[in-house]
């Protein structure tokens, strides 16, 4: 086996545990069903592009983006744990290069991101199947969103993990940042109903772009605006990725 693959197997082994599954699968599912149906009483329908979605379909599709973002916490946690528990040094005196280590984390995020997205898509499907417009772009859009989203948020998580050593700091900061992304976005409610400043803030948030792209893929609402969102998302992802790799390459021993 290639060294990077061995590290990916190791990353998946240490990350996939009951706590992670609850966070990554059970929590989103409960949220989709409970919140989706509870809020339907408040939010009857959501205009989206030139179509109208019912709220459960809206939130289930938003949850895919949220889940891709959350899954990237994995990489932050791996890097941070490896430094705290001495595995970073141990791996680097083993039969691996630093590039092997960095790439294994990138691939781990990608794998977890794609699997999470697929899982939530499958679970959410009963909720949005009436509105789904399957087309040639659906699958490519979902894969694009998984990969770009994973790299973008994975880079953020990695950057935070390389900057912090104390456990309180790491957990507080990473949770605050991700909570902010989650709630100041169109993942759970539409920008159209929100007050103007909030609606503007939504569009300073990469998660909004991510869920817009996912919805465009699922509901067949591909517009020029979505195209711009894709370009913006890729640019941010690439920029953050470069910063993350720089920091990881220079990480002190």
């Amino acid at each position: 086996m290639h060294p990077t693959i061995r590290l990916i197997v190791r990353n998946l082994t240490i990350s996939i545990n009951p706590g992670f599954l609850v966070w990554q699968v059970i929590f989103p599912v409960i949220y989709i069903f409970v919140a989706g149906f509870a809020y339907t009483a408040l939010i009857k329908s959501v205009p989206f592009g030139n179509i109208t979605l019912d709220y459960p379909a809206f939130i289930a599709s938003g949850m895919i983006g949220f889940n891709i973002m959350n899954s990237t916490l994995v990489s932050g946690i791996i890097i941070w744990n490896d430094r705290r528990h001495g595995m970073f040094e141990q791996i680097l005196v083993g039969p691996f290069t630093r590039t092997n280590y960095i790439l294994s984390n990138v691939y781990t995020i990608g794998i977890v991101g794609i699997i999470s997205a697929a899982l939530i898509t499958a679970i959410g499907f009963p909720l949005f199947f009436t509105s789904v417009q399957f087309n040639a772009l659906t699958i490519p859009f979902l894969i694009f969103a998984s990969i770009t989203g994973s790299i973008l948020f994975g880079s953020i998580a990695s950057i935070i993990s390389t900057r912090l050593r104390s456990s309180e700091g790491f957990n507080v900061i990473i949770n605050t940042v991700f909570l902010f992304f989650a709630f100041v976005s169109t993942a759970f409610y539409p920008a159209s109903g929100a007050p103007q400043p909030l609606a503007t803030a939504f569009y300073l948030n990469p998660l909004t772009y991510l869920v817009d792209i996912i919805r465009a893929g699922i509901f067949g609402t591909f517009t020029e605006f979505v195209m711009i969102e894709m370009i913006v998302l890729v640019s941010i992802a690439v920029a953050l990725f470069i910063v993350a790799i720089r920091l990881l390459t220079k990480l002190d021993l």
Binding site: R6, T13, G86, M87, V93, P95
Partner: protein, 313 residues
């Protein structure tokens, strides 16, 4: 054959000089002990030899390979137990052995056999299902050391591996290391437990402040630096004029400590002792207790380090 060859290694961290011109020649199939007080530069040396950090200057060859140019080639053939703990918190003991073997690309069947063997050798059977984060410090250290034997290697670096181990575990590890060396392994071992170095090592280097003070076999070190004995005399009561009475005796260093407790170091201990006793008897000074001890490796170590710390050095 030489397993490690290093010439004038220097390492500085900003203004701190951790290694100040270190030369090393470690022969294959031997256990090389690296002794020194806290902050001497032991771990820094290990980090450079294991390619974790580059030296500021100097040359290193490990297993005949240039450590700066081809670090990966070296890493594939060495085992390393660093001083700091290293573990996967949420894996059980047996799983962490197994996964470590996987990381080294060891065949699944061999992994299974080896982890069973190591669980036995390192007494891990009772805790094999327990997660690393739930282990005591010594237990965790045992797992960390055991884990390194999951893969083959030509050279093993151990940075104070026995810290935290109880006497039984300690002795078991040392004997296991000895048995491994018989099969051709070379070991680079740092410690400040002198008895351990004496029991284990074929050759010992004493290091302080980034410089090697002496390199030799434990016996030769004792012969070269340890001809002298330490004589301890307990007097029944203090005797003020004593230092004047004993001042004429040559070839020894007398330390009057508390006044009733005198230690004398000398390489001509017999002659010195008889002179002292004569003076004591002539002056009616009663001795409560007297002992003469051969100098231990520990004394030599302490003396070397003390001498090298002296301001004129």
């Amino acid at each position: 054959m030489s397993a490690i060859t290093a010439r004038s290694l220097h390492k500085s961290y900003g203004t701190i000089t951790a290694m100040d011109g270190i030369d090393l020649d470690v022969r294959s199939g031997h256990i090389f002990g690296f002794l020194g007080p806290n902050g001497a530069g032991k771990s820094t040396t290990i980090k450079i030899l294991t390619t974790l950090i580059p030296p500021t200057s100097g040359t290193v060859e490990v297993l005949g390979i240039n450590a700066v140019k081809h670090p990966l080639e070296i890493r594939k053939r060495i085992g390393v137990v660093l001083q700091q703990p290293s573990y996967e918190p949420n894996l059980s003991v047996e799983k962490s052995l197994e996964k470590y073997g996987m990381m080294w690309d060891i065949d699944r069947k061999i992994r299974k056999e080896r982890s069973e063997e190591l669980i036995d050798v390192f007494d891990l059977n009772e805790i094999r299902k327990r997660k690393n984060e739930d282990l005591s410090i010594g237990q965790r250290r045992r797992v960390q050391v055991a884990r390194e034997f999951m893969h083959e290697m030509d050279l093993l670096f151990l940075d104070e591996p026995t810290v935290g181990l109880d006497p039984t575990a300690r002795r078991k590890l040392l004997d296991y290391l000895k048995s491994k060396v018989k099969t051709g392994l070379t070991i680079f071992y740092t410690t400040h437990v002198l008895t351990e170095a004496e029991y284990l090592c074929d050759e010992i280097a004493v290091i302080n402040k980034g410089k090697i003070l002496a390199v030799d076999s434990p016996n030769n070190l004792k012969n070269t630096f340890g001809q002298e004995k330490t004589i301890t005399i307990h007097l029944l009561e203090r005797h003020d004029g004593l230092s004047g009475l004993l001042s004429g005796i040559s070839d020894c260093i007398i330390d009057f400590n508390t006044g009733t407790n005198i230690t004398i170091q000398s390489s001509k201990s017999e002659a010195v002792l008889s002179q002292i006793l004569q003076i004591l008897i002539e002056n009616n000074i009663s001795v409560e207790d007297l002992s003469a001890m051969p100098t231990t490796l520990e004394d030599i170590f302490l003396k070397m380090v003390k001498d090298s710390n002296a301001p004129n050095n």
